[in-house]
């Protein structure tokens, strides 16, 4: 039922208002999306400027080049950063997803005592300002360094990123489980499956879209994280966002725009995956009774 469309009997005031409303909304959508889109053509700039040159405006092929992408490919520091980002995000995601999924299974059981309290605590890394988390982890790692060197180590960054990622896994998986029909697990058990089989054959396939969405959120959280890296990582664990941060603060070069464009492409892929999963799980849920 569309309330947006203009009824046939609309008077002049309503017609004007209707088009004004559409124009306002378009501007807001432009405000949301323009900053992301504007970076893409600029990353092909042949000149070291952050704005459209007259050549670019007249679509002169000479004004466009791949030089910033080549710069990105040839600089060892960017290559190492991207490898580090994937490495850290991969392990942080696994840690966050396994722990978060298990906890969500417990949290969505009706027998779980103090559910609200636990949920509140487990979600809090998402709410507490990252600077506070980073400062706390910095102090914590400093006290632990005598036993296990966490400051300036991959393990330290992975643990901290997993902490920041778990709330997203918990939120998406508990949301998926809220529509889960628990009689299915009882049916499985009654038919002779042990709890492990029930989990892998019945629960897992049904909550998988939620788990994958949560994992992708955790991945992006780690992949985009810079504050913890600033506080506890050393040069060895330089990540993409850390390198961009340095690039913006110190020597801004259009190479950053090419990196940004690549990151935008990655986000488009991730968004597409999550949207497909969401629609699939909505379809599945629509089919199951209740």
């Amino acid at each position: 039922m569309s309330q947006i469309s203009l009824p046939d009997h609309a008077g002049p005031v309503e017609t004007v208002w209707h088009w004004t409303y559409i124009a306002i909304c378009s501007l807001i959508f432009l405000f949301l999306i323009a900053p992301i889109l504007v970076i893409i053509p600029l990353s092909f700039n042949a000149e070291p400027y952050f704005t459209f040159t007259s050549g670019m405006m007249s679509l002169d092929p000479e004004a466009f080049s791949m030089r910033w992408y080549e710069d990105f490919m040839n600089k060892e520091i960017w290559q190492r950063s991207i490898a580090n980002s994937f490495f850290i995000a991969f392990f942080a995601t696994i840690l966050a997803t396994v722990l978060g999924t298990l906890a969500s299974l417990g949290l969505s059981r009706s027998e779980m005592p103090n559910k609200g309290l636990f949920m509140g605590l487990l979600i809090s890394p998402m709410i507490v300002p990252v600077i506070i988390t980073a400062a706390g982890i910095f102090f914590f790692y400093a006290t632990m360094n005598d036993y296990i060197p966490l400051t300036g180590s991959y393990l330290g960054v992975i643990i901290a990123h997993a902490v920041l990622g778990t709330p997203f896994v918990v939120i998406t998986v508990t949301a998926t489980l809220s529509g889960f029909d628990h009689s299915l697990t009882r049916a499985g058990a009654m038919l002779g499956a042990d709890p492990t089989t029930v989990f892998f054959k019945i629960i897992m396939p049904l909550i998988l879209p939620g788990v994958i969405s949560g994992a992708l959120f955790a991945f992006v959280t780690s992949f985009d994280e810079v504050v913890v890296v600033l506080f506890v990582a050393s040069v060895e664990q330089q990540t993409i966002p850390r390198q961009m941060w340095a690039g913006i603060r110190e020597s801004i070069s259009p190479t950053i725009l090419s990196v940004a464009t690549i990151l935008i492409c990655i986000s488009i892929c991730l968004l597409a995956t999550v949207e497909l999963l969401r629609r699939r799980s909505e379809r599945l849920r629509g089919m199951s009774p209740g």
Binding site: S2, Q3, I4, I24, I28, F31, L32, I33, P35, I36, V38, L42, F50, T51, F52, G100, L102, A103, G106, L107, R109, E111, M112, G116, F118, G120, L122, P125, I127, P129, V130, I131, I132, T133, A135, G136, I137, F139, F140, A160, A162, V163, T166, T172, F217, F223, D224, V227, L230, M244, W245, I248, R249, A260, L263, S267, I268, L271, V274, E275
Partner: protein, 426 residues
């Protein structure tokens, strides 16, 4: 007997006690079964809880402890601290205290702790750093009586304030960091007073952080409401397409979006170029749109806008269009019906979105740091400054503690009003 339960009769009275097949009372068996289920649920949550406890809750507790602990002076200036304990802060202490101080400073210089002590005292009373390090250097060559030589070398030793600072920092647990975080200190008489006006920054900074967060929240609601309404009223296929425009920024790296705003808004940037090209301004009138508070608010609004659109959208989806039609058929003008019937129904979504955006905004660090310039810095940036540059960790922890208090209170309110299980992304 049919089924696992039986009724048993005891004595003359007929007391109905349900038992299981093996004769256990049903109540007990049920309690057992429920306990084991409860334990199983807790065991599933336990690994994550332990993980979060050790790598999140404990570190934060450690940070809060940092904000009150103060072992340095008590550990390294033992003699002075012992004598100052009984000092009445009425006049400059006697020769005895000066002798103790000379001993402590010489010893601290040998253990190389004197630099830290000087820095700590300097945080409390600016100017004391050179007094401490200089005296430490000289004192090794001095002999008793010390008092005159101390005062002759640096007049600060003849001032009550210097000694009061030493005494104030003697306890191992202290509130001075929290006082400093709200621009207060203890004066010589031990009363809480405001510090010198030229040094007052933190209260203003907290106010500015709150004010900028309010601006961002308002901007998000004003911009988010119309598009959430449009998304909720369009047919699903079209609204899904438009939803991508909301979700893509949400999934795009924060640093990418911040970089984009620099590219768009800087004086030689796209927007200024566009305005010059169109002729709104000439080349000399380029507007400083970024690297100030305004730039921070603009960038943060775009970054946080999805957090208000998504809850608003899901609330608006549940409002039946028939409400509006009913109001109109009862004679309300379209706008009146919208304002009196539709808008009140969206308030839960507005509240949820506002609280979430405000909570996220007051702790923002990256965007203000990159586009904030001088006057667009927020409290998180000051925490980072004290963590990394000035190395005044106690003060950083105290500022963090106050910020955390604010966030936790808002989080609690959010949980009461909205419920954290209603948090949603995408």
């Amino acid at each position: 007997m049919v089924g696992p339960y039986s009724l048993s009769y005891r004595g003359g009275e007929m007391s109905e006690l349900l038992t299981t097949v093996d004769g256990r009372p049903l109540k007990e068996a049920l309690a057992n079964a429920e306990r084991s289920k409860r334990i199983r649920a807790v065991l599933l949550v336990l690994p994550l809880f332990v993980f979060i406890f050790f790598s999140f809750l404990y570190p934060i507790a450690l940070m809060l402890y940092r904000s009150v602990e103060n072992p340095l002076i008590a550990e390294h200036m033992v003699e002075t601290v012992a004598i100052l304990e009984n000092w009445d802060v009425k006049e400059v202490p006697s020769e005895e205290a000066f002798a103790a101080l000379a001993n402590d400073l010489v010893a601290a210089r040998k253990t190389r702790e004197i630099g830290k002590i000087a820095t700590r005292l300097n945080f409390e009373t600016p100017g004391l750093r050179s007094v401490i390090t200089g005296t430490g250097r000289k004192a090794a060559r001095w002999g008793p009586p010390f008092k005159e030589q101390f005062i002759a070398y640096r007049s600060e030793w003849g001032e009550l304030e210097t000694w009061a600072t030493l005494k104030r920092l003697s306890p191992t647990i202290t509130t001075v960091n929290y006082l400093a975080a709200v621009d207060r200190k203890l004066n010589v008489e031990g009363n809480v007073v405001q510090i010198d006006e030229n040094y007052q920054i933190y209260v203003d900074l907290f106010m500015r952080t709150a004010w900028m967060s309010i601006l961002v929240t308002l901007a998000c609601v004003i911009l988010g409401f119309p598009i959430a309404y449009m998304l909720a009223s369009l047919p699903l296929r079209q609204s899904n397409m438009l939803m991508i425009l909301v979700l893509l920024p949400f999934w795009t790296s924060l640093l990418v979006r911040t970089t984009s705003w620099i590219v768009l808004l800087q004086t030689q940037g796209v927007l200024n170029d566009l305005m010059v090209w169109v002729g709104i301004i000439n080349d000399a009138q380029r507007i400083q749109l970024i690297f100030n508070a305004q730039g921070t608010v603009i960038a943060m609004t775009q970054i946080l806008l999805p957090f208000v659109v998504l809850p608003l959208y899901s609330v608006m989806k549940t409002i039946p269009p028939s409400y509006l039609r009913a109001a109109e058929s009862l004679g309300a003008h379209r706008f009146l019906a919208f304002w009196r019937v539709y808008v009140p129904n969206t308030l839960p979504g507005v509240g949820a979105g506002c609280l979430l955006v405000f909570i996220l905004a007051i702790g923002y660090y990256i965007t203000p740091a990159l586009v904030g310039g001088q006057d667009g810095q927020m409290i998180s940036n000051m925490i980072a400054f004290h963590m990394q540059k000035s190395l005044n960790w106690g003060l950083a922890a105290a500022l963090g503690g106050l910020l955390l208090l604010g966030v936790v209170l808002l989080y609690w309110v959010y949980n009461k009003l909205v419920g954290i299980d209603r948090l949603q992304m995408g």
